[in-house]
């Protein structure tokens, strides 16, 4: 009978190990293991613990509390030495141990009842990565040597899956990091080429432009005052020269971004200065400016002029996409990632950026406003300035679907 029962349990174990292997993360695997352990394998109270970076300690994962509810216990961290049974397993004297009649405790170590208790090594084939603990606090059915065998089997199956998932996660993270660095390298290489070309091209193109402009000025003097059409034609040519020159200026700004003059600045003040410079456009397009500035924001080491240029570029982009008016929200705040960062979010209420071009907005010469004065260099320059500051810039559509959010991060 017992054998038949064991065989049935083995089949279930096989089924749930298949299910567990499909969980997307270590976190989900641990949670699901406890859920399935209880619902399909009939475990009573159970919990899983993993060996910490410091091998003298174990950290919690998921477990079942004294009322039978599954809870996350990742905040828990205890010394292995405190539990003689665990200590014995960690010394590899046994894979699992059954204590038939002992006080049963909660996570704080307080005795909450009396009964049988099994601890099994979570074994991944090479080493002990953690411990699975189960007892009979809730159902009071005494645990047997058969149960111990089975818990040991389950813990080992779980251990193999755990290591697999962990390796998978580590690999994925390493791949993501590699991809990110590769993207940065490709981008840096692209920028270097553009930057190098910029000054050469600028010089070569400016000379013919200079000739054209002098020619236009000459002809303007020669054309009779009442010949309006000719004057209009010359005016168009003059505007075209100016525009070509503006593109070159953009390219040059881009190749000059290497020269930065870092000083300690209050980001709120830099933003105010930039706002002042676009006040004409703000008025012209009836833009409502909402400032949510953090007071007493820590100073950042930035090049004031370049940082202003960054904000001006972002503001003008936002304003250009709200020709019928809208709201420009500027928020400053601090955050802690790996370092303390001072951040600014700039949001507009324009139409947003189509998803298929979202990753192109920083590319040189990419513009949706060609023929409307867009050179496609504004955000390219902006990004390169931010990168010179070792900061970060992201552009995304707002969650509510109305407009764009640009986020800037500067190191404190």
């Amino acid at each position: 009978m017992a054998e038949e029962h064991f065989e049935k349990k083995l089949r279930v174990l096989h089924e749930i190990s298949n299910e567990l292997s499909l969980t997307p993360s270590v976190h989900d695997l641990c949670c699901r293991a406890v859920e399935l352990g209880r619902s399909r394998l009939g475990f009573d109270r159970m919990s899983t613990w993993f060996v910490d970076k410091d091998p003298k300690y174990i950290v919690g994962s998921f477990g079942v509390d004294e009322k039978g509810r599954i809870r996350e216990e990742t905040e828990e961290r205890v010394a292995i030495g405190g539990d003689p049974v665990m200590k014995q397993i960690s010394a590899e004297k046994a894979h699992s141990i059954l204590c038939p009649d002992v006080p049963l405790r909660d996570n704080s170590g307080k005795a909450v009842g009396q009964g049988s208790h099994i601890i099994a090594a979570i074994w991944n084939g090479k080493e002990i990565v953690g411990y699975l603990s189960t007892d009979n606090l809730l159902k009071h059915v005494p645990l047997t040597e058969h149960d111990r065998d089975f818990v040991e089997l389950f813990a080992s199956t779980f251990g193999h899956l755990y290591s697999l998932k962990r390796t998978e996660e580590e690999l994925r993270a390493a791949y993501d990091r590699l991809k990110e660095v590769q993207d940065q390298l490709v981008q840096a290489a692209k920028m270097e080429v553009v930057g190098g070309l910029a000054s050469g091209v600028a010089h070569e193109v400016k000379n013919p432009l200079a000739i054209i402009l002098q020619g236009i000025d000459y002809l303007a003097k020669k054309v009779k005052a009442k010949d309006e059409n000719s004057h209009a034609a010359l005016m168009r040519m003059r505007i075209a020269v100016k525009k070509a020159n503006a593109i070159i200026k953009g390219l040059l700004d881009f190749s000059f971004t290497t020269k930065l003059d870092f000083t300690s600045q209050d980001l709120n003040e830099v933003i105010e200065a930039a706002l002042l410079l676009v006040s004409y456009e703000i008025g012209k397009y009836h833009i409502e400016v909402v400032k949510e500035f953090k007071k007493d924001i820590p100073e950042v080491k930035i090049d004031k002029n370049k940082a202003e240029q960054v904000f001006i570029n972002i503001f003008l982009n936002a304003i250009n996409h709200m020709p019928k008016g809208g709201q420009l929200t500027i928020r400053t705040y601090t955050t802690v990632t790996d370092k303390k960062m001072v951040c600014a979010d700039i949001e507009d209420t324009g139409p947003g950026i189509p998803a298929n071009i979202l990753d192109k907005v920083f590319d040189p010469f990419f513009t949706t406003r060609r023929g409307l004065g867009g050179t496609g260099l504004g955000l390219t320059i902006t990004k390169s300035i931010i990168e010179m500051h070792k900061g970060k810039i992201t552009v995304e559509n707002k969650k509510d679907g109305h407009g764009v959010k640009v986020s800037l991060m500067f190191k404190e």
């Binding site: 400016k206 200079a210 000739i211 002098q214 000025d217 003097k221 200026k249 040059l252």
Partner: protein, 124 residues
Amino acid sequence: MRKRRILIVDDEKGFTEMLRLNLEDTLEYEVRTENDSPKALAAARAFKPDIIFLDIIMPGMDGGAVLGKLREDVETRDIPVVFLTAIVGENEADSLKAGISGYPVLSKPVSFSKLTECIKKTLR
């Protein structure tokens, strides 16, 4: 009163010719153009201009070197020089109040009105 003399030094012949056309058209200036640095130095001595427009990036001897030679020569050392160059943008040129080594800078492309304004200011 004799016409004010202007020497334009730039390796871009199209540009110097266009400038000459414009300046001579005002009937106020006598213009000489040079597209080669050594010839420009000789012209500065012989022509005795009231002002020299000097390009910076030129093959062989660049504008800075030409300026050095002009300043070494007692015949040419006092002639006002204005740099007229494409390597500086308009905004940078405007913000370079002290000029390059103390000499005014105009950025190419330059409008004729800005150019004549600069001549008048320099010759005042």
